[in-house]
Symmetry: C2
Subunit: 84 residues, 2 copies
Amino acid sequence: MNSLFKALNDETRREIVELLKEKDMNAGEIAERFQISKPSISHHLDILKQANLVTSEKKGQFVEYSLSTSILEDLLNWILTLKK
Amino acid sequence: MNSLFKALNDETRREIVELLKEKDMNAGEIAERFQISKPSISHHLDILKQANLVTSEKKGQFVEYSLSTSILEDLLNWILTLKK
DNA sequence: TAGATATTTCCCTAAACAGCTAAATATAAA
DNA sequence: TTTATATTTAGCTGTTTAGGGAAATATCTA
């Protein structure tokens, strides 16, 4: 859960996740949406991957990123137990 | 949402929340459960308060903390929209 | 093969953060 | 009113983190 909370504890990463909810995007397309350098976006994507919130697939010279929501099941359950 | 994710992005604070799920506790009782100094626990409690995850009430010389789960509704909804 | 494009890795900086001790504040009890 | 107890505030320190630019890597195209 640590890496998941860490990944979500950043506005830019949460916005990336929301973008990927709409459609898969490659790293460059994602970076275009922010006024942040590509290396920084690449680092954010890596943190999201470590949390299993996104997956990536190389497509030629591009790297396509997809949202993966299965890990959110754990988070959902954790929250629900708090609400009893 | 920022302060909420920030509050949850720490193992100690998540454990405090889980403790308070069982019963209300004062600051000293909470601190006893951890091998961390009281001032540090006090700071964690403050961050949880800022996120509206806990409330506090002065009872004589003690300060009793309670879990407040209403803010989790927002988090739950955010997660659910990601899962579509 | 050489040049262009896409992405990541490396290394740096400034800010945020978790932890500590000591001191301040507030209430209770002697 | 003095002393003890509970909690917070203030100030310090080492670590983590988000951001940037430059360079490395990988693929594509001429």
